[in-house]
Symmetry: D3
Subunit: 329 residues, 6 copies
Amino acid sequence: MSGYDLVTFGETMIRLSPPNFRRLEQTHLLEVNVGGSELNVAVTAQRLGLRTAYVTRLTRNPLGRMIANKAREHGVDVSHIVWTDEDRVGVYFVEFGASPRPNAVIYDRRDSAMARIRPGEIDWESIFTETKLFHTSGITPALSETATAATEEAVKEAKRAGVKVSIDLNYRARLWSREKAREVMTPLVESADILLTTEEDTARVFGIKAESYEEVAKKLADEFELEAVAITIRETPSVWRNTWTAIVYAEGEIFRGPKYEIEIVDRVGAGDSFTGGFLYGYLTRGPEAGVNYGVAVSALKQTNPGDICWATPEEVERLLKGGGLRIVR
Amino acid sequence: MSGYDLVTFGETMIRLSPPNFRRLEQTHLLEVNVGGSELNVAVTAQRLGLRTAYVTRLTRNPLGRMIANKAREHGVDVSHIVWTDEDRVGVYFVEFGASPRPNAVIYDRRDSAMARIRPGEIDWESIFTETKLFHTSGITPALSETATAATEEAVKEAKRAGVKVSIDLNYRARLWSREKAREVMTPLVESADILLTTEEDTARVFGIKAESYEEVAKKLADEFELEAVAITIRETPSVWRNTWTAIVYAEGEIFRGPKYEIEIVDRVGAGDSFTGGFLYGYLTRGPEAGVNYGVAVSALKQTNPGDICWATPEEVERLLKGGGLRIVR
Amino acid sequence: MSGYDLVTFGETMIRLSPPNFRRLEQTHLLEVNVGGSELNVAVTAQRLGLRTAYVTRLTRNPLGRMIANKAREHGVDVSHIVWTDEDRVGVYFVEFGASPRPNAVIYDRRDSAMARIRPGEIDWESIFTETKLFHTSGITPALSETATAATEEAVKEAKRAGVKVSIDLNYRARLWSREKAREVMTPLVESADILLTTEEDTARVFGIKAESYEEVAKKLADEFELEAVAITIRETPSVWRNTWTAIVYAEGEIFRGPKYEIEIVDRVGAGDSFTGGFLYGYLTRGPEAGVNYGVAVSALKQTNPGDICWATPEEVERLLKGGGLRIVR
Amino acid sequence: MSGYDLVTFGETMIRLSPPNFRRLEQTHLLEVNVGGSELNVAVTAQRLGLRTAYVTRLTRNPLGRMIANKAREHGVDVSHIVWTDEDRVGVYFVEFGASPRPNAVIYDRRDSAMARIRPGEIDWESIFTETKLFHTSGITPALSETATAATEEAVKEAKRAGVKVSIDLNYRARLWSREKAREVMTPLVESADILLTTEEDTARVFGIKAESYEEVAKKLADEFELEAVAITIRETPSVWRNTWTAIVYAEGEIFRGPKYEIEIVDRVGAGDSFTGGFLYGYLTRGPEAGVNYGVAVSALKQTNPGDICWATPEEVERLLKGGGLRIVR
Amino acid sequence: MSGYDLVTFGETMIRLSPPNFRRLEQTHLLEVNVGGSELNVAVTAQRLGLRTAYVTRLTRNPLGRMIANKAREHGVDVSHIVWTDEDRVGVYFVEFGASPRPNAVIYDRRDSAMARIRPGEIDWESIFTETKLFHTSGITPALSETATAATEEAVKEAKRAGVKVSIDLNYRARLWSREKAREVMTPLVESADILLTTEEDTARVFGIKAESYEEVAKKLADEFELEAVAITIRETPSVWRNTWTAIVYAEGEIFRGPKYEIEIVDRVGAGDSFTGGFLYGYLTRGPEAGVNYGVAVSALKQTNPGDICWATPEEVERLLKGGGLRIVR
Amino acid sequence: MSGYDLVTFGETMIRLSPPNFRRLEQTHLLEVNVGGSELNVAVTAQRLGLRTAYVTRLTRNPLGRMIANKAREHGVDVSHIVWTDEDRVGVYFVEFGASPRPNAVIYDRRDSAMARIRPGEIDWESIFTETKLFHTSGITPALSETATAATEEAVKEAKRAGVKVSIDLNYRARLWSREKAREVMTPLVESADILLTTEEDTARVFGIKAESYEEVAKKLADEFELEAVAITIRETPSVWRNTWTAIVYAEGEIFRGPKYEIEIVDRVGAGDSFTGGFLYGYLTRGPEAGVNYGVAVSALKQTNPGDICWATPEEVERLLKGGGLRIVR
């Protein structure tokens, strides 16, 4: 298939988490979800109304199939996934915390099928026919040397096909050093049109700091010649209660999203849902809609268990209109 | 049987809710409870010490039996339930939320056995022998044309038998329009002795508004010549944390209940528990006890999963005495 | 989309079943699955390798979305589903038994969105472009008068488009009488190319009986001028242990499938999986492959919880080669 | 209340059992049921149609209330239960096995409220007004010296009031020796009209053995001048698969019940359900109906988790008519 | 074995708690944990790095084994446990609350194996060879007269062997009166080197009150000639959110621990974890480390379900360094 | 510590399995157990009465700790485990089947901490002081080249210290070829005193076949100069029902164990439990006791969920005496 509004590219892992705030060491059951930054983006965007495809490399076994199945469950096209009989499906564990114990994540992702991807395995030319936007995150090139090359190939092919490029900086200290990240991410972000990030990641990877979020966004847009820069902003007075908002710099202007008090059910994947919502709004109605949809849908995401957002467009609209907290009957 | 302190009349449905804040779309398990405004009232009152009966119409299948069983589990008499081999047992779904996502309810109640009730099916004359109070809510006549007629019949029979009538206004926009509600509810409330409601329902159904809750209560008492009017008052700063209180106007005076900070486990059915507690207190000790018992028992209810209140008289007494939040050993 | 090997048409309901052999009356949890004869067929066929689409009518709410999602999860195309804001999603309850208590099913499907379907709502012409086979069951026309008409329309459109028609007789006594079923099903089966049934349904609907399964199949093929007739055969010495096989009459010959001893995890949907496997084998390799794939995949299905088959082609091949019962490592 | 068909008297405990064949030592969850021989009898009889009451002594705490609630859930009258603030509610643990590991039960029942019952605490005179039958088991007098006296009082009062007496021998080696049991049970059974037992218990307590079950029943009837003697017969070729039947000697004749192959979900309480079904059939239609109802309802019981029988009269009738193992739709 | 840093002595019970804020009366499942003040102390200290042993008396059945197993799971030595075929394992039930409903505990511990312990059953002489510290709580002597004597014996043996003695006052009103507690505890605390308590218990047992926590600590140290006195301090603005800290008086100085806002998962056992952490810090680095480790580890404990602390030394260090609430990856 | 009856050496993984016969692809929960052939052996032997230690290499994270904890839970000494901050803990998935679908296992164990073990990391000299027997399986050397060398080192050190060596052939085709296995295992088995195996593994690795199990055992004993050879024998008429027995050749004689019909709850780890039981019996009472204990304890194991055996010595004795299938009260 082809003709996508959005194509995302990256790794999805099986996520295992003990129920009811149990520690891993004490649990006898694990809840199973799938989670991957770029899959999360695609699902949110698809649920809001974009036509999306998700590209990755998966081992042909029940765990690999589960990942593709869950993407399909939300309507994301998976026909370009590369299947292999080799390698493995990465796994990660999430322990949900309570103040003063933060959430904790343990990754077991080495040598996964996606980390072993090599340039030339994906037919980007046919995928990018009539595609509007390509999205990946800083996690994808960080997976391995070959994954770096495969990411560079994807971005180059996108540019060649006239497809816009969106990148979430998403720095993962477990995967690479700040120096290595800067070296690889600099040309990738230079090729990009849209950047999504946090103030902290920007400082860690690019050393860019400023007095305000707004200044950071402008600096990034200038330095990398970006069409739009989005920064998500979280305050964590406690583990179970956060505030959440974002700003976007685009068209020479700052757009501020709404700010929500969030009772946290599961904050993992919030940034990805922001990206999915932002890209939906941005592609269909511009930067102001982008930041509003992004913040609202990702606020709702944090009230669902699992990395993936289950909100509907109607719920996002309701929240943006200030829907209130009474029972919806 | 006969000789009840309280007889309630209305529909109970099977309530299905995903555990752990899951969305319906993502759940693989549903918790099963039974829930119905008038059943909830009867259970609370019975647990506190009244002799109660619950009257409804149920399909003779496991779901119908489950509803009768649960009423019996709390000691509510079910010997006057009308059983049929026709129709169905209504179902509703509750999705529990977290700020900024409110709780949501989806009803699937059309053509239920209770919606198909007709006047003449219940032997009110024998039920009302030595009964003190009859209670129903605005949901019951809203179920269907025949249910309206059956409700009118019940109220008429109560008056004829010298049984006091209590009505919870409980407006359900999914079931009827405000106009239709006003048309039906006006004569019913005029026949009643006690009215339980919220400021919002009063405004929606009767168009009665005022500067304060107290004024609303007085206006209602005056307009409908009521012996007592109770208004429950909830503030929802967040989904998981509410405040809860109530006022009662009776004997020409305003009685204010205590106000509680509530950590919400399940707020569905709180108003009904208030009614059960109020009627218990009012019938046994007067309006001040009514509002105190009502608020305290319904505050405790909101810390139990399910529509139904599992508090004991001792717990209500303890809370009214300012029991504190230390572990009870 | 278009270009399907198989398009199926019918109702899917939310299936609710108590875990661990609990009775409905005693359960506090329900497992949630989706189940519908024609969806089950499509999923099995898709998993084995056909390109399938599933057509139905669904209410636009979380329950309706869950049904479409689960079809998509397996790769079944759902782009032709008709969505409505009216009506409801049907529900059914399954109690799993143990000898001497059989499994029991309670339906609550009246007035569902699919029962309210009307001719003209589906664009069969575009769906049937390049489609090879259309499948429905005797449940679909039994849902309502309008559903009968919509089924007749679909079959007529299939014939007009040169699409083969497959019908599972699937008599449901709760939905219509034998007489009504015979009246409606006779012309439908006469239009069909393939019939799937059981000896018992054939006797109940068409009054066709014979000395042997083989004779029944031949009689049906002759009377309705069918290209292929498949009969599934189950023996139930106990609730937890059954034997399972099938025969097919086609090309003037009887083809017998393998016979399996089955330790029953969930037998609901076995016939549908047979159909999905049969159609896969029949379309790709002929009647002998059809009966083999059909029996093997549906034997495996009965070891999965839920109506839907999760077997893979590799597992079916392994079983057909006599894979044995040792641990697969 | 009064006017019962059947009044039963004995202890009910909280039953705790690990799910999924876990050993106690390895479990992290326990399923909660209530179980007591005489409660089980009352529930089965009530569900089949008798008006029953259950008499016991319970500690006034949530565990005690749970026991009364569960009796009420099935419609059994609990208004004669003696409540105390002293003592405790007994607990027992069940580990479900699989061949060659049998089920195992651990009791922790010492000093329970019922073991501490004393003569004079129950107003038998008023309970027995218009009551037809009184039932208890050999467990009740075995609980303690005072419980022996209280049981003797109950039987004496029953005789005085013209109420028939039924006794289940139910020998528990953990509670008393064979000698002590014989000493106490002999006069009790001599006062009884109906005896329910197994061949093994008869041999252990009374030393009565014979060539056949039929002979044992006759001997017992002769020796204790009983109106009816019922013996249940179980074969256990494996833990998960048993056969089950019973015989009754009454009116000078042997009546044999049907024999069922049972896939065991939970065999605990089977004998009690037999008693409930037998007493229902015997009181309403005589010994043949007694043995048939008893065997059928208790066969169904063994397919339900928990000590308590959830079968309906319709299901019992269906089974007695040879209902078969096909799905009931 | 011998050569312990810490030996603790007391009762452990099986703890049963309904999940998801259910009331006991409404639950169908119970979570199983083991809980005992002195076991909790040993586990925390062992996890932080001390070599510990736990001494108790247990019935030789699966429940007793579960308790020993869980101690061993954390590396606590159990080779000195006294096993008996008599008596029982105590049980307690915890209902988790939500404001305004506090947590509630129901004990069923009478006649447990540990309550039946007698002096002379434990070989303290060999246990105390090369042991540094002995710890028990005010619960142990409160269990029974013989347990009082056994506790006195243990303390006397510790003093004789030159082992330091630590006592947690831990007053349990269900077990004994304030007068009896004072009579028994006074000489025990006089023999002790370290006392852990709360302001409230101190007032209840010894009648010691003061203007400040610090004054109370000093008074206790003076009156009982103690080397160190620790007081834990909890504020409970709501059931789900508490603050937690402690002070220690030692070496003529007050040491104040950090103060944490805690989102309560399970506060039972917090004081015991404080003791375990305090003893670890105190023995290895002195009173300041003691109060810091004690507060930090017990703050983390309150975010784990179960009485037992699952924190690691690294997590405690991280918290003491002000680790923050971001996801730990 | 030292002075063990039995020291085992090998890898343990985290085992994840869907509940209730779910396929991995369809599950939302996974049950967590730990499983490793040599750990299973140690646990069974420890539970029966030997003093055991388990040696492995583990990553210092919650998964590694869980494995050590579970060994400790049963009393197995873990003080010689090698901890590392590198590598990972292996994981495997078990899908439980039902006829005709066999159980299936998916391994994800590459690059685990144990596969990365190197000679010289373990202080065998001190471990083997006063140790009686060393046991490992063919899985351990198959993990990697360095693991082969480490296994060879362990066996050499055992021989040098005069410790008997026991080896379970345990061929894993996923880990190495038959040729490689034969090359490595031949000298290891030549160094061994005791061999445990199945007829099939013997044929695959050594090409040894014979007319009967007895002949195979003798051939092995002769060829490798073994003191004892044990062969376990399973028949699998269905997935849920197997028969199980074993023979041992020792002292020039064949000893046959009892044969059990087993209702399978979880057969994984049965062979390991046999080994644990055999070694217990063999070391304490000789080959006849060995085969009897081995078969009985491993029959009981198959009725427990998880790889690990929870039987007690009393239960094994009871089964060997022909305990029967009645409820144990």
